[in-house]
């Protein structure tokens, strides 16, 4: 955490009392960035809020866009597809994140273990590849790998004697395939964050523990775990936010299909807004997603960035 890295923040301005208290100067430095972010972040959001109270269909550009009160929100509240998409997103989250953390922890421990530094460097650098891959391209790779006829996934299954699986054409399997691609892409992130936590454990303490016990698990549980908890919190919160935003991988891999089997909430809202063209309802959905995100962001700040 960055709390320790603010040299001289408190009590320093004694030398120059007015220098860092100048509101005008601070304003001048901050104004351009704040104005830009307000223009492209806040203003459109307010516009979306306004649209969420209107009937607004892009496919009928000549129609009036009257205010309809809370109609759009009522539509959303009674729309099983929206709740389905939200539930699916939640399912995706609880499926994928525990696996990513567990695998990430194993990887982090292997990378933290002394010895074999050459191979460790190789493994650590290879983790950059999934992270650097554009999520859209990851989805395309997934679509190739999980192809029923010529995909490698089925070739590997055939090698161990299992029959060809209909991956992307089957509702459950498509969900699993998208989850597997997400696990490929984001496990390295979890591993690197957890590794950063592991390196916080003072070497002497770890050495002493190694002399005390032979059990790897005991060391993880009682020595390293306290240092890993902040990392786990960060992972949980960022992964939650990312899965609420998740669009690219799903779009290129399955387009949300078959049926709505992999239609996560952002994909669903995109469909309502740009393929059904119902901007009013889509805006109401987006605003509800925004509220959910803000609640989570509050948690984020509360548990992760406690300083400043």
């Amino acid at each position: 955490m960055s709390s320790g890295t603010q040299p001289g923040t408190p009590a320093k301005p004694a030398v120059f009392p007015t220098m860092w208290n100048n509101k005008r100067a601070a304003f001048a430095f901050l104004a351009p960035a704040v104005a830009a972010l307000a223009l492209i972040g806040i203003f459109p959001t307010v516009f979306a809020l306004v649209n969420s109270f209107r009937r607004y269909n892009l496919a009928k550009p000549r129609d009036p866009t009257p205010f309809v009160g809370l109609d759009n929100y009522l539509t959303v509240l009674y729309d099983p597809s929206f709740w389905g998409a939200l539930g699916r997103t939640f399912m995706f989250l609880v499926t994928v994140v525990p696996i990513q953390i567990a695998l990430g922890l194993i990887i982090a421990l292997l990378l933290h273990k002394p010895g074999l530094s050459g191979f460790k460097l190789l493994a650590r650098l290879s983790l950059v590849i999934p992270l650097a891959t554009a999520p859209a391209v990851a989805g395309l790779i997934g679509r190739l790998i999980f192809n029923r006829d010529f995909g490698v996934a089925n070739a590997v299954l055939a090698f161990v004697g299992a029959g060809p699986v209909e991956w992307l054409g089957d509702t459950t399997n498509a969900f699993i395939a998208v989850a597997l691609m997400d696990i490929w892409q984001w496990t390295p992130f979890c591993a690197l964050v957890l590794l950063a936590g592991l390196t916080m454990v003072p070497t002497e303490i770890e050495e002493a523990a190694r002399l005390e016990t032979k059990s790897r698990w005991q060391i993880v549980r009682y020595v390293q775990m306290p240092f890993l908890l902040p990392s786990v919190t960060v992972i949980l919160i960022l992964r939650t936010a990312d899965i609420l935003k998740m669009f690219d991988t799903v779009f290129t891999m399955t387009r949300g299909g078959p049926g709505a089997a992999t239609e996560l909430v952002s994909v669903y809202i995109q469909r309502v807004g740009f393929r059904v063209f119902d901007q009013g309802v889509a805006s109401a959905q987006a605003i509800m997603l925004l509220i959910l995100t803000i609640v989570l962001a509050r948690l984020y700040v509360k548990y992760v960035y406690r300083e400043v």
């Binding site: 430095f29 650590r124 650098l125 070739a155 995100t293």
Partner: protein
């Protein structure tokens, strides 16, 4: 990170009993190779497919040994017009990064240095932008851009990408500026330098490592982005990820060409990501973990 543990290796190996050590090392090695395979395989498969002919790409069971050829790259770049999409991506990613750094570094400097009242709220606001789902902004931006005739222009994406680039620049650079000693600024102030001169001539050059890292992140995120590009561009400003998805119609998909486009998108990013690999975690967690 790894250096510290590497130094201790020799000591530990000397003190540990020899026989089980070798077995443990073997498992360690298997584990590390498994990590490598897990991380690299899908990428390898993409590159391999991009070097196959259509018949080889669609072979069942998949072909592992083949004569690589670059035909897919040629046809994608010159017949499918992926080249102009890549150029669009470069123009957009570079412009938005320059803009984000230009707007973000002064803000970061102010957040690191100045004391003012609603600093915490401002900072919270920057965080929320990192969490914001693009779809929330994409809906209204589309209508606004259509009204202003900005659909299918570079400008609209350059501006919209600031929603995630500006926060990342502000966050990484705020941390960096905090590491630059205040005494330098104060000394320059005593010598009569203006606040902007202090920022521009003293603080910014010293914060360059952070600025460079945040610029690379900003470039990567913009280069990889799909949702906004899909919604806001058609042909003239189409970015590379949109071009890659545009092949996905019809029954017989040109897998070699799709994977060639994918490789062209991913390869430069891997180079950049390796450059910042030490700061990868910091950038991806917005400084929550270092």
């Amino acid at each position: 990170m790894a250096v510290a543990s590497a130094e201790n290796t020799a000591v530990r190996q000397a003190s540990a009993p020899a026989k089980p050590k070798r077995l443990v090392n073997a498992w360690h090695l298997v584990g590390l190779l498994a990590i490598f395979l897990f991380a690299v395989f899908p990428f390898y498969w993409m590159v391999a497919t991009s070097l196959k002919t259509q018949a080889e790409a669609l072979a069942s069971p998949p072909i592992w040994v083949f004569t690589p050829n670059l035909d897919n790259y040629y046809s994608v770049l010159f017949n499918r017009d992926v080249l102009s999409s890549l150029i669009n991506s470069v123009i957009i990613a570079v412009s938005t990064t320059v803009l984000a750094v230009g707007l973000g570094t002064p803000a970061a400097y102010a957040l690191a240095r100045f004391e003012f009242k609603s600093k915490e709220e401002l900072w919270f606001w920057f965080i929320t932008n990192r969490m914001l789902s693009p779809i929330v902004v994409a809906l209204p931006i589309f209508i606004m851009a259509r009204t202003l005739n900005l659909i299918d222009t570079h400008l609209v994406l350059v501006l919209v990408y600031l929603t995630f680039n500006l926060p990342i620049v502000v966050w990484i650079c705020t941390d960096q500026f905090r590491g630059v000693p205040r005494d330098l600024d104060e000394a320059a102030r005593l010598a009569g330098a203006s606040r902007f001169t202090i920022f521009w001539r003293i603080a910014l050059p010293l914060a360059m490592p952070g600025v460079a890292v945040s610029a690379i992140f900003s470039f990567i995120f913009s280069w990889n982005e799909l949702l906004y590009a899909l919604v806001l561009t058609r042909n003239t400003a189409r970015t590379a990820p949109v071009a890659a998805t545009s092949f996905m119609s019809g029954y017989d998909l040109p897998w070699g060409e799709i994977m060639a486009t994918g490789t062209l998108i991913v390869l430069p990013v891997i180079v950049f990501a390796l450059i910042v690999s030490k700061h990868l975690v910091q950038g991806l967690t917005m400084g929550a973990v270092k």
